[in-house]
Amino acid sequence: MAMKFQTKLIIAILGILLAVQLATLTSVLTTTQLSVNEELEQQLQLAGNVFEQLMETRSEQLFNSASVLVSDFGFKSAAATRDSKTIQSVLANHGARIDADIVSLIDLDGVQLASSEISENLNDTAIYQQLISLAEPNGYLITNLIVDRQPFQAVVVSVDAPNRIAWALLAFSLDNNLAMQLKELTGLEVSFVSAENTGDEFVTSTMASIQSLEDLSPVGFTEEQFLAPSIWQTNNVEHLSLVLRLQSNTGQLSAVLQRPLLEAMQGFYQLRFDILLMTLVATLLAVALAIFIARSVSKPIKIFSSATQRVALGDYEARVDLNTNDEFGALAAAFNKMQEDVSVREQKISRDAHYDQLTQLPNRVLVIDRLATAIDRAERSGSQILVVAIDIDRFTEINTSLGSNTGDQVLIALAKRMVSNVRKSDTVAKVGTKDFVLILEQLERDSGFHVIEKMVDELKKVVAVGSIKLSVGFHCGMTTYPDQGRTGDELIKRANIAMQDARANRVAIQEYREGQDDEYNRRLTILTDIKRAVENDEFTLVYQPKIGIANRHVVECEALIRWIHPEQGFLPPDEFISLAEKFGIISLITKWVVNEVIKQIERWESAGLSMKVGINLSALDVKDQEFPQYVANLLNKHRVPASNLVMEITESAFVQDAEIAKAVLNQFRKMGMCIAIDDYGTGYSSLSQIRDLPVTELKIDRSFIMNLEPECSDAVIVQSTIDMGHNMGLSVTAEGVETIEGVEILESFGCDTLQGYYFSKPISADEFLPWVNAFHARPEYQPTASSELVSRTH
């Protein structure tokens, strides 16, 4: 789990703090320890100096005492007597005066005359001679002696009467009393260690438990100990110790000055304790501070975090209440501002999502929602709902001719009228550019119908936009819940179907009829299947020959499309072609046809048949300016001359957007194709329109040809049309030629080409070539065997 920010901050602050504290502590303690050690050593050295000074002073005092003693006339007199007993008595007497422990009188040659000490150890002429030789230059000697392992401070002085007559030796024991006195003066434990040359040590110490050198120093003496203070264990306690070598003429004498380390370090330990305590207190304070800072940072973050979650859930009401003067306060203000802005924007987006921006009416999304709610209510109350789909007639024309701004104004005005003609509880929604839906709740079908009629009457009234006044037509489709649909989708879809029906029937209001939906669905299926059919080559082409009247030869043919639907079987071309035109996907079919035809021409060419083939174009095809290039590419690809193609269009195809159609047709014509007007006579084209187009051929609609008889009205029309076409330089084809009479009449009228069941029904590409060969082989005009099959074909 990720560490909390607060924890991180505390750890960071503490880490830095502890590092600094540790460094400081280490530095302070190390420095202090060093300084304390140094000071202790200096103290000890100083104490050593004091000790030496004290010893020296004591020696001086002893010397002075001794000097006075030997200057005593009685002493001199006794010494001069050379009487051993007298001398002994005076030594005892006078020695006691100065508390000497040993008194000896030695003659100038080093021979002991008398001594208080019977020790053989001292009564040695060699030793005396050594001492005397040392005393000789100054007349005295101050030294230390070890006698029977006991240490002594000793003075050798000359006895003058008045000239030197003897030497007196006075020695004073370095005993425990002295050690205690020195301890009082120096504050140190004092031990004297005397060792005669035999190596046997004797220890006198202020510490009662010290009896031997081993007690004092388990490792004995080392050279280092004489150089500087050192630390060793005495009585199992660490002592800072200094060993002083005392000058001695017999054996070795050392003084050991010691201080228990614990006692010496007492001040340092106190200091260290204080420092540690201060560090601890500082650390605790810092921790508290760190937590406080971390909290003061993380608390606003928590507030922001929860506020963010709240906003994410869509709650824009609660504000972040953080009235501090710092960055967090500023952030809180910014956050609140953002929250308000988001709230406003979301409301706007929500409104845009549910309402039409132009009319402020509910849109498709909302109307479905409202309808669902209405259905719920109606279901509970057992009431009815009327759903009305309204389409404005020819609104596109208004937009195109008067501008979209005017169109918008018209829509707004009409929307207002709709709203004012229904109850408040009803819903008026705008679901498309010009499509409206009404939801009328709790209304019987009949009364609802009246409401709608009344409203349509109102809507039809003149709409004034600025100076423009116009009236608009409407088509309404109506469904009723629950009879004509149980779901919102169903009701709206069926209302739309009814509305389209109304438009088709040119009525204002059309109620949905049962089954309309199925037909609509079927058409929808066909429409969606067209794409698949193109991809899967479900379409096939059949070809109907056109016979030139002059030489009775097959000169051209017309390609006609057929579709055997996998599920619905044969579908009439009129139906799916008109559907494809209506939904703007006719070019898919046309392109497929062009492709197939060109390939077929290529195949025929290779089979030795040169054939012109007519292709039916729809109105949309001639509006596609890219289309000529598409065709040209295909021709190039298959090396088929453009003159092999005849583009057939109906009159209605070029009535709309005539200029574009003209441009497209001109391109085809330039490429060398022929242009034919198909179904001529059924449309509303004028001759002037035809004259403007690069037309080469007129195909008279079959309705004029099928029942052609001499002297009938059709004959007049056909004759005049043929004449007119010829006058305009066009060739004329008659479609739907089914009888020999018709052939004869048309021949008499001077028609150029004939097409119809009299010669052949449309046949497959495979059948076509054999048929052509067979036809050309016959000398007479004979009806084909299949002429009984009279089925209407395109």
Partner: protein, 230 residues
Amino acid sequence: MRANITNLWTASFVVIAVLTATQSLAKELSFSLVNETGDPVAMAVVTWEDSNQLEKKVGSSKAIMDQKAKAFQPYILAVSAGTEIDFPNSDSIHHHVYSFSPAKTFEIEMYAGTLSAPIIFDNPGLVVLGCNIHDVMVGYIHVSADSNFTQSDAQGLVTIDVDTESPFDITIWHPDSPLPNGSLKISSEQIEKQGGTLTFQVANTANIRNLSTPLQRRFEELRKARSEGG
């Protein structure tokens, strides 16, 4: 400290002996004792062997060992055995003269002025005199068995009268000489060869004798101040 004072330093003296020719049998030998710095060595005791003059001087000869300015006067006194010596005290202070020397052990306790009875030094030998209350005071009495002795004068001049012309041995002694027993033995021939000067190592006692302790100097100053004031 006394030890320091008595051992301050030892100087080397050159004894210059001046030999003087004698006219008759009675021959006179003169020489000078000089230390190395050219200073004469005074009061050195010179003894010699004279086989023709063996008579002992006994009886009533007298001598005086005075005490002036906290010093024995003379420093060295050479006498023959049997001499009576007076120990007058010319100082205004008391003295306590003593001797532990085997030749004559005596003690004249605290006295001032002239002692009533002189002390007879009847045994030959060296007597070292001291004063029990003035440690710096040292004096020497050289007691000879015969009369063949003399002392160098203030100029270090020594004159010896002998009856023989044959060589004889001479002993020169001075208490401050670092030589063994403070004495030098030399033959008359050798002295003659040396051309009248003889080197004789003697500690510079004149300087030492004049030294006193700081305490004594302090008392001296006090005394002077009192007498001047009085």
